[in-house]
Amino acid sequence: MRPDLKIIADLIKPGARVLDLGCGEGELLAGLQAEKQVNGYGLDVDPANIAICVRKGVNVIEQNLDQGLSNFPDDSFDMVVMTETLQSVRLPARMLDEMLRIGQECVVTFPNFGHWRSRWHLFLKGRMPMARHLPHDWHDTPNIHLCTVKDFERLARDKGLRIIQRFVAGADHRNHPLMSLMPNLFGAIAFYRLGRPERP
């Protein structure tokens, strides 16, 4: 399993109810179903992804995230996961609210636009950064809401969300010591485990 997915998988208790938003080829859910007997569902809209999920035996539901998650009742999942998809939804802040409405906790990962390579690219070339984890040209990218680690934490703070765990990794999804020291500069992929706001 991809290292970042492995970290998420380790957070999930056996038999838990898991919703994976933008589940792609269903790697996380297939692993969780086999090893932890979770009751998991994945949402996606890409026909090729859906076909692959079906062949893997993953519970894949065709649903467009931008049409909202209002069909899911409050507290219907133990964990709601969204890997490298938050930056491509229309309303990311609203999405976080919804994830923590239907799930007790959530995990989000996103490409960190504050990574030194992005800054260097923009600084030196004066052009929108492209990299291994940001492969699209500006006019042809699904990533319409890119942010930095600092931006994200500011949003989480404004919303009063609990950051239970933070972790950054390189584009290879592996962590290196420097990244923990200066995550916004050296992390390519950011990973957050979030809880609902504490009641005052």
Binding site: A51, V54, V58, I61, F72
Partner: protein
């Protein structure tokens, strides 16, 4: 057997079979039948572990002839030949497919056109009301006759999908997976309204004679044809009809305009006419009522989640973008309830311009998801069979 060249890719020549189920069969309406017959077809081979059986449930105007041909010279195959056959979504090289004509039907199973053994006369309008639950129980007796304890899958489109859902709820231990295609958990008021117009068309035809048309050697052709025309409009999409017929005039000349001028008019009239020759009016009334009454949540205070919690099977739920008879939103209701009931479910909304009828067509993405799902079930059935051996 060598296949006729035109039958390549199909199950080839098939022949209907018949089972007589003796004894009293109590129906949900309170009445009962003194035994009944079902006509059915089978395709493929039942494996040693008897684990690869698939039940096909037909829709409103369907019958047991789902795949293959009855004779060399048949121009058209069975109604779901696009999805059932060697290498197809329901792969007859891997599954043993059972396809019955429902109780109350008019293609060989006991129904309104059958002679009532108690009176020696045709049942006609006296044939009791039959529900989807009754169909499930009668199909289970057919399964008993074939010595099939559990179906790897129960599969159906439209009203057939409703039977598959009822199977999963009523006989959970006998269903491995239920495939509900272009279906709904119950009819909307609009659906019932269209059915009512169809029924009124039939019963107001003077030839209907309060349902006793057979003894008078009559057939309410006009009414039945009109009912079919109404139904047919709801099976197609506005866009699809536009693509196919547009506003094309038959003669292309307004000065020569007569009664039937637009292509779509002559198409509908042809559909109505040919249907009225091959379908029984009382059966049409019975089938539309079964549709109207279908409501598995109703028994549990309207709680579809509670109803589906009874199921032990996995589910495939497919819908089509331009279907307005049972729209994608109706399938979504089923999917949401299945998730809340913690059932395994795969769901896709297939982009198609062909409306409700899409489920009958070999649309590449539809077949890819359907076949991908069924192939996994076949793998599991074969693994189970290897264990048993």
């Amino acid at each position: 057997m060598a296949k006729h060249p035109a039958h390549e890719g199909s199950v080839g020549i098939v022949a209907p079979q018949r089972v007589h189920v003796p004894g009293e069969f109590a129906l949900q309406c309170g009445e009962s039948l003194d035994g009944f017959e079902l006509v059915f077809e089978t395709y493929g081979q039942l494996n040693a572990a008897r684990s690869n059986a698939v039940l096909i449930c037909h829709a409103l105007s369907g019958n047991h002839h789902a795949a293959g041909y009855h004779a060399e010279e048949d121009a058209k195959p069975g109604w779901w030949d696009a999805c059932i056959g060697p290498g197809k979504a329901v792969d007859t090289e891997r599954f043993f497919v059972v396809s019955p004509n429902n109780l109350g039907g008019c293609h060989g199973s006991t129904g309104p056109a059958t002679v009532n053994p108690a009176t020696g006369e045709v049942f006609g309008p006296a044939f009791p009301t039959v529900t989807v639950k009754d169909w499930v129980r009668s199909q289970a007796l057919l399964a008993d006759h074939l010595d099939i304890e559990r179906f790897a899958a129960v599969v159906g489109g439209s009203l057939g999908g409703m039977q598959a859902m009822q199977w999963a709820i009523d006989l959970p231990e006998r269903v491995g997976a239920a495939a509900l295609i272009a279906s709904a958990a119950k009819l909307s008021a609009q659906n019932i309204a269209f059915n009512e117009i169809a029924r009124q068309a039939i019963t107001s035809d003077p030839q209907y004679r309060d349902g006793h048309y057979r003894s008078a050697n009559a057939n309410p052709e006009m009414g039945l044809g009109l009912a079919r025309m109404i139904g047919h409009v709801t099976y197609l999409s506005d866009f699809g009809m536009g693509q196919r017929f547009g506003r094309e005039l038959k003669s292309g000349d307004l000065s020569a305009a007569r009664d039937v001028e637009f292509q779509v008019q002559s198409y509908l009239r042809h559909q109505g006419r040919s249907f009225s020759q091959r379908f029984d009016a009382n059966t049409y009334l019975l089938m539309t009522r079964a549709l109207d009454f279908f409501d598995p949540a109703g028994e549990r205070g309207g709680d579809l989640v509670a109803a589906l919690e009874q199921a032990r099977s996995d589910f495939l739920v497919l819908s089509f973008s331009t279907d307005w008879r049972f729209s994608a939103a109706r399938s979504k209701e089923i999917v949401d309830a299945l998730i809340a009931a913690r059932k395994n479910v795969v769901s896709a909304v297939i982009d198609s311009e062909h409306g409700h009828d899409s489920f009958l067509l070999p649309l590449p993405r539809y077949i890819s998801v359907f076949k991908g799902y069924m192939d996994r079930l076949a793998d599991a059935a074969e693994a189970g069979s290897a264990d048993a051996a």
